[in-house]
Symmetry: C5
């Protein structure tokens, strides 16, 4: 998983039907040099600015009620910043 900050919502009206009902968030990795944005489905209710845990790839399917073409999911909200000195 990676730790990232919720930056924005993403709205898509014309989308694959398996994506209906999901909320999608733009997440930016918080630590390290790779700051490339990830769009993740969220059913936990993370808010803009919160630190979250994002799971990617096939394992992310296990957070969904039914299989869908979603490759990243918010699986947790971080309680407090981990002790990372950069």
């Amino acid at each position: 998983m990676i730790i990232g900050k919720v930056i924005s919502n993403v709205v898509s009206t014309r989308k694959y039907e398996g994506l209906q009902g999901y909320k999608f968030l733009v997440i930016q990795p918080t630590y390290g040099s790779n700051k490339d944005y990830i769009v993740a489905a969220d059913e936990i209710g993370a808010g803009i600015g919160e630190l979250v845990l994002v799971s990617q790839g096939s394992p992310a399917q296990f957070a969904l009620k039914r299989n869908a073409p979603i490759d990243a999911v918010v699986v947790g909200i971080i309680d407090s910043e981990p002790n990372i000195k950069e």
Copy 2:
């Protein structure tokens, strides 16, 4: 998923038979430092210049009618640019 812009079509006449009938688009990630092009199958009908949501890896299979050796699929067209300040 990543957010990218549709740049071009890709035409391949000699291809694996499981790819017949799909339209393939070259997508460039819109945000972040990684601007490397991805070729994704599209059945939604995204046009050149549109912002789309691309799902990659095994989960992308769930957007296909039958399994195929396709590792990226356009799963949505973005309504408006998300609020990302770079």
Copy 3:
């Protein structure tokens, strides 16, 4: 797999229920130029500062008792630093 050092714990109270009971660690790759942090589940009992072997993606599921949306797992603790001259 990659070799990394355990940097910190990560605590998440509001999380997907399939993640209950797992301990999550922030791991930093030890060798090479990519030093981007990975959050991995740990059931072996790795401590802060230890060198560990982390497996990523779908194969990491085979270290779990039941499927969960976890994309990285600590699968071993390294006995001694491998002979890598950088």
Copy 4:
């Protein structure tokens, strides 16, 4: 998928038996900043210098007659260079 150019053959006599009978090609991505070589199985008959479409990861299995430890496959030969201005 990515678009790449066929650079060379790769010959391996001592190999896992599931790889017997496949031809392996070194492919270099044509566009973008990541030019790192990929070795892909080819059953389409791509020649040195041709532009090809490469599918990676688990989805590549759907181009194989039987499952094998192959993580990249040439799935198509590109008719003409796509309209990408770099």
Copy 5:
């Protein structure tokens, strides 16, 4: 797959039981700009300094006798350096 050179062994006594009996090697990609080390399971018997073919992700499972949390496997030993001019 990627082509890499065998750099070192890795020994882990405290490890997930599904990893018992495997030999693990540190591999460095030989060509391209990404030189980040990969730890791969080896059952072919590759020696330090040899050029090998490494398969990553879920497809690597097809080289194993039973499923295990292993995300990279040495699937072949390269006969001679491919014709890559860097």
